[in-house]
Subunit: 302 residues, 2 copies
């Protein structure tokens, strides 16, 4: 089943101990869509400026990514510049220029309005809710990402949006901030009262954790000797996770666990190179090989 994503399309200036890229295509919706498209068709809702060229759009070509929902506006595309610490575990934002993204009012093309799987990437909670309201029938699965900025600045809007969400996909710091609980199990119970019935906690180099009424499922991060750039890893995780679920059309525990693994697989590829470089040349057989490698990494017999 096709999958709808709304979120940022951006140009990033990325610097890590492994190098620097001045103008890399990025943005949550971009990473998500490219990662998810290995599993299922994706409908992308976002906005770019007139500096977004045909060469930039090539990342979407030859993939099952529909761009009717990608608005083109006068002005510049969202720009972010950041630098990573020696160990890649801290990043400093140098520049955030919202540009055309500042006035983004997502509008769903008619054909997107029957989406069964919806991912609301990290944008203002009222815009996330607006997108969800444009979908005619309650989706089978609505998932949402957010960040400290919205948790602090628009808590009421975020709470209202969360009431309509099935799966919240956020990192550990955001989980703790949103729930005011350090312990992730207690945090999950708190968050379930806000609406979501499942919580996916992205823990960076420590992997990811799914908490729902079935219990807890943990998957480690794939051990890499030379991660180059963590930008987009979380969005690629979400793309693999939602892409797998939409392709399977099932959301039982068995499928959610597999989705966690495929999410981790996609995140692990993204960090291997700068920006979208690794996803750009990724082959489907590499995805399945790495999923089997995750099994080797975690499976045991009692």
């Amino acid at each position: 089943m096709s999958l709808l994503v709304v979120g940022s399309v951006a140009f990033d200036c990325l610097e890590s101990p492994y190098g620097k890229v001045e103008r890399a295509l990025g943005g949550a919706a971009t990473y998500f869509a490219v990662a998810a498209s290995f599993f299922t068709p994706v409908n992308l809702v976002g906005i770019v400026g007139d500096d977004f060229t045909e060469v930039d759009a090539r990342i979407f070509h030859g993939r099952t990514i529909d761009l009717e929902g990608l608005e083109r506006a006068e002005g510049k595309t969202f720009f972010w510049s950041g630098v990573y610490s020696q160990n890649l575990n801290e990043r400093t934002t140098r520049v955030t220029d919202l540009n055309v993204f500042a006035n983004f009012k997502p509008k769903l093309p008619e054909k997107y309005r029957s989406s069964k799987y919806v991912f609301l990437a990290n944008i203002a909670p009222d815009l996330q809710r607006d997108v969800l309201e444009q979908v005619k029938v309650r989706p089978k699965l609505a998932a949402l990402d957010t960040m400290n900025y919205w948790i602090e600045r628009t808590p009421t809007e975020l709470r209202e949006t969360l009431r309509h969400i099935d799966i919240l996909v956020i990192n550990d710091a955001e989980t703790r901030q949103l729930s005011s609980e350090h312990n992730l199990l207690r945090a999950a119970r708190h968050i379930f009262k806000m609406g979501p019935s499942s919580l996916v906690v992205k823990r960076g180099e420590y992997g990811a954790m799914l908490v729902d009424k079935q219990g807890v499922f943990c998957v480690p991060a794939f051990p890499l000797e030379e991660p180059h750039d963590p930008t987009g890893a979380g969005d690629s995780f979400a793309g693999g996770f939602m892409g797998y679920l939409a392709a399977a059309g099932r959301t039982t525990d068995l499928y959610l666990r597999r989705a966690m693994v495929y999410g981790s697989v996609m995140g692990s590829f993204t960090v291997e190179s700068f920006g979208l470089d690794r996803l750009r040349k990724l082959k489907r057989n590499e995805i399945h090989a790495r999923a089997r490698h995750f099994a080797k990494l975690t499976q045991f017999k009692l």
Copy 2:
């Protein structure tokens, strides 16, 4: 096969947000021996002062723990006092009184000198080596724990001891410090050159990781809503890990993975209560139930 451990037996003053215990029996060798004794007989080499009473010794009674190697000296038993932060993820040492431990010269009873499984808990590297030399035939498996103090103060002695070790069992900060590598895979390759063929990295709330020539195996920490006291979790992990291997008498990948799970099981019980309170009343069937719970926590089908 029986298992030898050398390390500290101590009294701890423990304080966490969940309470305070003024004089709890502790020490690495104590946690290790109690945890391992659920799997296999243990020979304990350590030292206590004349304040160590028959009531204190009761923790070892009714378990397959041999105390012939537990020396009793004039003076006080090793004393440690520490306080944990609100989230239990930081601890501050208030007092470390080595007492009789300061002059500890481990001497193995004759019957311990044919041990096939040896665990050298965190003590001075030259004492660890001395113990290993008292074992007549090279053990089937020698494992070692250490800490920042020895890595900084006695690097030469530690390097010499590591040459004779099969498995190094340390935490992530120690791994990085010893290898001067942040990345754990590169750290492992560095450490393999020092002697050990396997590295077990204890990562606290993030679980544990085994790296050897077979590859990598990860196990998460057991998610607990109310951890009370992390003291001894790492030593209990080591006890479950080595205890399981000694009981199995096998060290192939299948058994090492199971040992990682049983180590995590024992560590998870220890943090549930203060000091040894949880291990004290633990039943063998609870261990197996939790191991099955670890399977539920991590297993997936592709």
